[in-house]
């Protein structure tokens, strides 16, 4: 925490090496989070890029109130949600989030994103409604608390817990037999 505070202090004073360090520390986690949320590596990288662009523009006035990791993860989640929303608005017919995803064996990009071993996880994630996927991913990938996810989604903690539970159940069903669980 002290190290993070020091990094932010230097970043606020224009030390670009501090920003580079922040990026290097968090880039893989943020790309993983965004990819799990969007199930699209390119979109995920755009989201992470945009988060860092906005972040570096906040230099000089950024105030760290919690953990930097949590802050950046929240930024990524917010941007990913907006992106998903706009995609959903522009997908004709059924909403994208509830549309049945292509089977994961028809999506070779999943192996590129998640690795051959976990491609079925990517495929299963794509089949979850976005709110459930977000609850599961933020909780499991970023270790975010239900309360924080609830604040972000603008719903009650109980609703988030419900989304998480339903999401996890569906994942368990979808992955049953596909992974050596």
């Amino acid at each position: 925490m002290l190290r993070e505070m020091q990094l932010v202090w230097r970043f606020n004073r224009g030390h670009t090496d501090a920003l580079r360090e922040i990026y290097e520390q968090h880039k893989h986690a943020l790309v993983t989070l965004a990819t799990a949320l969007l199930v699209d590596k390119w979109e995920a990288e755009d989201v992470v890029h945009d988060v860092f662009v906005v972040f570096l523009r906040s230099g000089g006035r950024f105030r760290l109130t919690g953990s930097l990791k949590g802050f950046l993860a929240t930024c990524v989640a917010n941007r990913a949600r907006n992106r998903n929303k706009s995609k959903r608005n522009h997908t004709p017919g059924e909403a994208a989030a509830t549309e049945p995803a292509a089977p994961d064996n028809e999506r070779p990009d999943l192996a590129t994103m998640f690795g051959e071993e976990l491609r079925c996880v990517g495929g299963a994630l794509a089949e979850l409604p976005y709110e459930q996927r977000e609850a599961v991913v933020l909780r499991l990938c970023s270790g975010m608390r239900f309360q924080a996810i609830a604040r972000m989604q603008g719903v009650s903690t109980n609703t988030v817990q419900g989304r998480y539970r339903y999401g996890l159940d569906k994942l368990t069903t979808l992955l049953d037999g596909k992974l050596s669980l």
Binding site: Y23, E45, D46, H90, F114, L140, L168, D176, L179
Partner: protein, 420 residues
């Protein structure tokens, strides 16, 4: 329960590495943004932004014939052609051939306040573009260096840098033969010949108004009053207004224009005060262009591609359209040209006909407009004459009823002669 725990475990171990492309993009952004809490407060940027807006309006720059000063100079030269036999265009072009540099003194008006203007400029070897320039006005200095345009703002002791030589002081494109040819379409002028008792010389005063000097919607109407020396054929002073009826105070007044065969580099040297910080000029586009840029029928869909890929794709298509002179496709990709007559679009394209695309670069800089993210991308192309040009284009990403897509906003600065 066990399975749920295992899934949790899998998620915790999941790792999607950031690509080297993302690393490059983020590090480039960091390189570009020299942020300093002490030297770059958010507020004062506007001051220079306003000054840049005054001097360096660059929307669709190649096609924007000029802003205030350049417009005055160029319009005058073109108008003279029709005004009287004593002012034939050929004579004016011939007279200008002797000179490669200018010095202008006068003033510009901003928010009702007149600010002194002092401008030095030199044309490149082709005589079409500004190669070096130095412009000083109250609280700000703009100069060119290493194919960049820099602006120093005294209020925050900061130098704002733009890649390329943009519409330098409104003098780009330089009043050379190519620009004059385009400007021959200007109409609505009156010319009066008289004597100047102060100098004993004959002068011609030309008045005119132009409805859309910068292409569709970008600038409002302008009116001009230009004074020529009959003997030398050269423009000696000018005034311009941002209305079509010469009402109110002129927004720019060039009181004295001197011509030089050449000027040494030292004239354009400028060192900002010590302690000045350098930062990139924010990449943005004028609000007046947003309605054209938001046309859902234009551009290409972005979905399924990263921004880098979308930029590559739209620029490939744009250059292909330029090479084949496919005007409909150019208009579709570049919505600001949608209302331009074929003739104008073809003429402008002819200025440096492109034969081959050598390379389309990656995103060098990003910005934001009200429509969405902006990206600045260089391309290297070969003209039919064999010259290699470096052209910077701005791509606008936006969300429309048709989904996420991107369009070309226009050129950023002017094409530079590049080495292979």
């Amino acid at each position: 329960m066990k399975k749920t725990q295992d899934i949790s475990q899998i998620f915790r171990q999941m790792r999607v590495p950031a690509s080297s492309k993302l690393d490059e993009r983020v590090h480039r952004e960091i390189d570009n943004a020299v942020t300093s809490a002490a030297t770059a407060p958010a507020g004062p940027q506007l001051t220079l932004g306003q000054i840049f807006a005054l001097f360096l309006k660059r929307p669709s720059a190649r096609y924007t014939l000029a802003t205030t000063l350049g417009l005055a100079v160029l319009a005058a030269l073109a108008l003279i052609h029709s005004a009287s036999s004593a002012w034939a265009m050929e004579q004016t072009i011939e007279a200008l051939k002797k000179y490669r540099a200018l010095h202008i003194t006068g003033y510009v008006t901003r928010g009702g306040k007149a600010m002194p203007l002092d401008l030095w400029a030199r044309a490149d070897v082709t005589g079409n573009l500004v190669e070096a320039g130095l412009l000083k006005t109250e609280g700000a200095t703009i100069w060119t260096r290493d194919n960049k345009t820099c602006g120093y703002d005294q209020t925050d002791n900061t130098v704002y840098v733009e890649p390329g030589i943009t519409t330098f002081g409104g003098l780009n494109p330089w009043p050379g033969p190519k620009s004059l040819t385009v400007l021959t379409r200007l109409k609505d002028y009156k010319a009066f010949e008289g004597d100047d008792p102060a100098t004993g010389r004959k002068r011609v005063v030309v008045t005119c108004s132009i409805e859309n000097p910068g292409g569709p919607q970008l600038f409002g109407p302008q009116s001009l009053l230009l004074e020529f020396d009959v003997r030398t054929k050269l423009l000696v002073s000018s005034k311009s207004w941002q209305n079509s009826t010469q009402e109110g105070a002129p927004n720019c007044c060039c009181e004295k224009i001197l011509y030089f065969e050449d000027l040494p580099d030292s004239v354009f040297d400028y060192q900002p005060p010590s302690g000045a910080s350098f930062t990139n000029m924010p990449l943005t586009v004028p609000e007046a262009s947003l309605s054209s840029l938001s046309d859902p029928g234009c551009g290409i869909p972005e979905q399924g591609m990263s921004r880098e890929q979308a930029c590559q794709k739209i620029l490939e298509q744009y250059w292909a359209a330029r090479i084949t002179n496919d005007l409909a496709r150019i208009r579709q990709l570049w919505p600001l040209t949608a209302a331009w007559p074929d003739e104008l679009l073809r003429d402008v394209g002819d200025q440096d006909e492109i034969a081959q695309v050598l390379k389309i670069g990656g995103i060098e800089r990003t910005g934001e407009s009200k429509l969405g993210p902006l990206a600045l991308i260089p391309s290297w192309v070969r003209s039919r004459g064999g010259m290699v040009l470096e052209v910077w284009l701005i791509v606008q990403f936006r969300e429309t009823d048709q989904g996420a897509s991107c369009v070309i906003y226009g050129d950023h600065g002017y094409a530079l002669n590049a080495k292979e």
